[in-house]
Subunit: 447 residues, 2 copies
């Protein structure tokens, strides 16, 4: 279906058939058009641009993937780009500029209107994943002294050019942010009342340096439509809208899942083979290092294994179960950190619960494993040893599974980043060491 | 800080000191108050309720955790509850009722106003995680024939009682949904124009049975503030607001991360020890089964290991690296499925990329492993064997890591659910079998 549309569109574009192009994209949302032209070659892209109204083209570019945006900017002449930018909001322009080589960005900024340039420079100055990096400067802010009637008039004037209209930001005479007013309340209030009288002065706001993940937690907790970004003087710098917050939440979630799985957040299912190798191989090398650590631990006990080969078959059970139990704790803690529910300082006592859980779950799975090994190799001591090793390794799993992500967080590292590697290294090394060490101690009983 | 406030609040509540209570909760958001009273005992909860205005109490209950909601409903008498409900929107009431025992729910419904009851029954009829289950029936829908002036008047009238005001839904004479109008456009349009003239007739909507995850993908893709839910006759049944969508996105994400880690989505970091044991042990038993499968595979080669003990130390490397590489593919595919980017039907060819990746990454990590083993045990054949086994197991990892979640999806199972278990079973069993099997074939060269 999409492919058919794509073909039809390419044909019409190459034939410069404007009417047919509009027939195809009529009633389509800009993001769907952006997806459709994603795989156009340079020639088709240029020809497509020539046939399309600038305003629509601007909307399409706004919604396009980063790759397509950069391609388009590099392909089109600067004058066209600046013209397209005139239809976009400043935060979207800043996003696009942020992805360009610095020289190109500077050249483009030089060509733009001075007023815009200053705002853009400011927006570009904030880190990409900070509140300042995702805020927009297009909002409605009114003085608190205005009457409702005057406010409504202003809103009708400014409304068409702003991103958010349902929340009006209320300023003092000194331009400090003193409250927010819902458009709903403005609509239903007496025309003679003043804005300060109907505003909500309990403002939830963030600083421009605030991490975007924390901003998203606030918006989600308080069901906000937009959150103001203020500086230390309480001046309104910009706002972050709920649709950008959804993008942040989805982006941060993707990052967490991919990082936990040892994949770079930039990789996608359809990345090229070369990209995928480049992104994944470094992680595999790190894992290889830890695998050798585990192998080295086993190597210490080669003499024991040579005498009781059954140990070789049983040892992956101890290590594997430790890894599984630790991953359970790890997943829970990483998710709770992301939701802002848990921190080392506040909740360190919960580690005792995880340790207790390790004892119980270790005993429950260990007793079954012990009995099966006892029956298979007809040696009760082998059963007892694996029972003890399972409890020990599941305790270690709970301990590290709980503490590793919280400690990483304390040191300012993303808790999802290398948690799993640290954890399985611990459960592998300790698991092998405990099981084979116990076997060595009680070797006479196993022979 | 929170604890101090909590203590102060409890004291004021027990002393029935209304003034002091309001002093403490003044300027607090309902959700923060809900968090504060979360750990109140029954007596304090009841006393707190007696001192608080009903409207504020309703907002607090709305924002409270499920556990607290159920506690409050069971604690208060039915008349108070029904009174509190009168301040809430229908979707919130339906959410609360949905968590109650059926008998209690029916009794409560009987006591409510007949008009509300019908809507509530309808809302309760939809699955909790469907579009119908999360929609609200409080929105503004106007006939398209109305003029902008008349529309504005209606909006001012109905506005205070609805959840969403920035999007107005436009109906035909037959009450079919024919478009949406932004409040912004209504505000700035000529009073004499008709609603149909300024509305957007390209509607993105969902059916009530639609899965909430798919709904959230649509809202996120098209940056919607609210999405209409319609039946097959195109009648508007309700709308889903963006704040509820954020909740869905966060909930689904929590589910994915926890399920991938082998934890039940109902568990939390601070669940009781007993709850945690109950939730985690079943997963560990399943994992134990697969661990025995791996141990059994190793057991098949005990005679080989007895002759070349070095194999015991090296074999966890092959299995572990397979698990890691497979998890990379798995994480990427699970996330892409959640974002609606990939499906088996459309993208099955990508499995060849993953297989190719397995060959390259297997060769890269295998050659290092081979050289180290060769040097350590002074046997080139051991090096060659592990090189081959690594390639083989990373190919298997890519193959299964890609196909397992997509196949689960085809069969209607959540792809995050048991993917990791299936995958590591495959990489463990194949990894051990490949490495030890090759060792058995070339045993004479290893001695």
């Amino acid at each position: 279906m999409i492919e058919e549309r794509q073909k039809a569109l390419i044909n019409s574009v190459l034939e410069n058939d404007k009417e047919k192009i509009y027939e195809i994209i009529d009633n389509m949302y800009p993001i769907d058009i952006a997806i459709l032209i994603e795989e156009f070659d340079d020639e088709s892209l240029l020809k497509f641009y020539e046939q399309i109204d600038n305003e629509l083209m601007a909307e399409i570019v706004e919604q396009a993937s980063e790759e397509l945006q950069v391609r388009i900017i590099k392909l089109f002449d600067f004058k066209s780009i600046v013209h397209l930018f005139s239809y976009m909001s400043n935060d979207d322009i800043a996003d696009i500029l942020g992805n360009l080589p610095i020289k190109m960005r500077k050249d483009l900024l030089k060509m733009m209107k001075t007023g815009d340039t200053k705002q853009l420079q400011e927006l570009l100055g904030y880190a990409e994943d900070s509140a300042g990096g995702i805020m927009t400067t297009e909002y409605i802010a009114l003085k608190g002294e205005l009457s409702i009637g005057e406010s409504l008039k202003k809103i009708k004037e400014i409304g068409p050019e702003t991103e958010v209209i349902e929340t009006i930001f209320v300023l003092s005479k000194d331009k400090e942010l003193i409250g927010t007013a819902d458009l709903r309340d403005i609509l239903i209030s007496d025309e003679d009342k003043k804005l300060v009288e109907i505003m909500n002065d309990n403002i939830i706001s963030v600083n421009p340096e605030e991490d975007q993940e924390k901003v998203s937690l606030l918006v989600s907790k308080y069901d906000l439509k937009a959150i103001p970004v203020i500086n230390h003087k309480n001046s309104l710098l910009g706002i972050i809208t709920v649709d950008d917050i959804i993008d942040v939440i989805v982006e941060e979630q993707t990052e967490d899942i991919l990082m936990m799985g040892g994949v770079s957040k930039e990789e996608r299912v359809d990345s090229s083979l070369v990209t995928s190798v480049k992104k994944r191989l470094p992680w595999l090398f790190i894992n290889l290092g830890t695998a050798f650590l585990a192998a080295f631990t086993v190597g210490l006990f080669e003499d024991v294994i040579a005498q009781v080969v059954a140990l070789a078959a049983a040892m992956p059970i101890v290590a594997g179960m430790g890894g599984n139990a630790g991953t359970q704790t790890l997943s829970l803690v990483i998710r709770s950190i992301a939701l802002g529910e848990v921190s080392l300082k506040k909740n360190w006592k919960l580690v005792f619960k995880e340790v207790g859980l390790g004892v119980i779950n270790g005993a429950a799975t260990g007793v079954i494993t012990g009995i099966i090994l006892y029956m298979k190799y007809d040696n009760p001591y082998l059963g007892i040893i694996i029972f003890a090793a399972m409890i020990g390794n599941l305790v270690i799993a709970g301990f590290f599974g709980f503490l590793i992500p919280l400690l990483l967080k304390v040191f300012g590292v993303d808790p999802a980043l290398a948690s799993a590697i640290f954890l399985t290294t611990a459960t592998d090394v300790f698991g092998f060491f405990l099981f084979l060490g116990l076997a060595k101690m009680f070797l006479p009983y196993l022979l």
